[in-house]
Amino acid sequence: MRKKEMLAMLLAGGQGSRLGVLTSKNAKPAVTFGGKYKIIDFPMSNCVNSGVDTVGVLTQYQPLSLNQHIGIGIPWDLDRKNGGVTILAPHVKGGEQGDWYSGTANAIYQNIGYIDANDPEYVIILSGDHIYKMDYSKMLDFHKKNKCDVTIAVLEVSLEEASRFGIMNADENDKIYEFEEKPEHPKSNLASMGIYIFTWDELRKALIEDSGVHRDSDFGKHIIPAMLGRGKSLYAYRFKDYWKDVGTIESYWAANMELIKALPEFNLYEDFWKIYTNSEHQPPLYTSADASVTRSLISEGCEIYGTVENSVISTGVVIEEGAVVKGSIIMADCVIKKGAVIDRCIIDEHTIIGENVKMGTGENVPNEAKPKIYNTGITVIGSDSEIPDNVEIGKNCVVFGKSTADMYKSGKLESGQTIDIGGIDI
């Protein structure tokens, strides 16, 4: 096998539990974003656009949809004979019982064999949770120029926000002398983005050493402090562009809505840094003579007969005559039937909303079961669900599964209530 200069390890095993029902059946990296994309498409596309053609994707939580999405990597040109994409799932090792990935660094430790087989000079660690466009080759140039053992991509955040992040304290050349995980009194505003370039030899040693100490070996908590302690050369690489962690229902909704603006901060319409995705080929979208579509993103394969405003619509969605969709995110292959009115809702894939359903009405009462997750007025419907005709659903509601009319007392689901037929804790 030809030697690879840099290999990417993409951590895609996290649940993203604050996204509630959206991650009940798939990992956070497999959540839809911006109409036709999945969150993992952003780091995957960054890899190919940066010339990184060998990517290991580490899966653990609900990997099915992620495995199907990635396949052999055709959409990202990662179907290669030399390198390409490899799904790395936790597995049983010779004779012993297998281990789950118990921490970010532990997941990499368990795949040392994969990395060694590709014999890279450098390894970039990525997470499948963020929306951004970044040229990793520039970060690698920085790493080489400064003769780093580790380069950590950082974002300048406000000091108030800083206590939510891992914070790098660095000298005037951005050489890191201290790392603090979620400090109460931050000394700097350089927040780790969870993107690291390691010189592989150094990382390899550190992983093996730490594996004997911490069972849940983690980059932020263990590897980085240990390498700092041993006097290794760590640098902060400042990233100044758009970077979003869409970790909560509200931030997820807001980041999608931001794309609707005439000139959004995050530009998808750029020729030389395309975001690739596995959208099974879809025909162009059709808007009928009675349709009205404004301030919205509409993906291929949609058929719009009703009204859509301020919304992001994924591929293959049908919005029937007289239906009104406002301020909402509708994911792939949903059907919004005649006369339904949907206001500030997120509807996951393959869901059918019955005729004349009203959604997002009433008072803003936090969800009774999960007030920490659903509290900003957004109602969320899980994937493969059904809402019967003529019912009304309030704010901060959650419906998951094929609901029937008898589940709605006097045809109504009050704000903050949940219908969970899937039996999954949402």
Binding site: A262, V293, T294, E300
Partner: protein
Amino acid sequence: MKALGIILAGGQSDERLKDLCNVRAVSAMPVGGSYRAIDFSLSNMANSNIKKVAVITQYNSRSLHDHLSSAKWWDLGRKQGGLFIFTPFLSKENSYWFRGTADSIYQNISFLTKSNEPYVVIASGDAIYKMDYNDIINYHIEKDADVTIMCKDMANTDKDVHDFGVMELDSDNRMIDFEEKPVEPQSTIASLGIYVMKRTLLIKLLETVVSEARYDLVKDIIIRYRKKLKIYGYMYDGYWNTLNNINAYINVNMDFLKKDIRNMFLTDGAHIETKPKDEPPAKYNSGADAKDALVGSGSIVNGHVYHSVLFRKVYTGENSSVKNSVIMEGSIIGNNCTIEHAIIDKQVVVSDNKEIIGTPEKPVIISKGTVI
């Protein structure tokens, strides 16, 4: 039944389509918002389980090559069989362009001799239709025919039978006579330029006619051998169109605004595939008003669009109005423009406040890359 596929995509365009085809072969004409004409025959081949397909091209084939640069979108990127693209080439013995359709196959006869599929389906790259070629192959076997030609009764269609090869069939659909673009057609049955025959017979016929300096499939094989061979017509009554003039081109595109035609080609059962372009979703800004419109991905709509087909990455400016028009990939319509009954080719830039107005009979054509 195992068959080989040959798609004849070398044809130069009809004079009437020339403004659009100066830059591309007819088979590469953009159709239906994100397709090219050849996607239809190619997808039909793939969907009919024909796994070895040759595309023969000659005239202005760059955009066709670009489109076919990978065969995987049609599931034809295979070790066994797959997609072959044949262009004219120079050798010690031969420095000819293809001298005709029969010659274009003959010059690549090893594609036929080195195969073992019993049948060959020959189709043209510029027809818009959806069919399972197994139907015509089975019919061919059932009739024990030497050649089977797919044909359609053009009575009660918008097609002029004078533009086609006209077939006379007996009551068993055996062909009695064939006239190419006749002055006085003897019937309304037109050949659709899709042929089925045994691979070995095709090899024999090609070797014979080319040795006699005859090079045309229709003239030198179908017409010349019409009495000698057992030629049958296979009546096809589904949707079929060909891009032989400007109005046909507009009509084909406007047909995609009809739900039943869209569903037939694009969603029901086997559907038409094309090379993906990975554009983001289409964006509708605050003044957007798109009615009865097909909009390709990556487009940004600010103005009115009515009864029109916008391909990928089209931009329409504020207060602009596009009606009854076809706008191809990457074109930009400025603010306050009025476009009616027009075909705007790729990468055209129409600056602010311009009017481009044609009539249904005579649409305006703006050539690729024009800046107005």
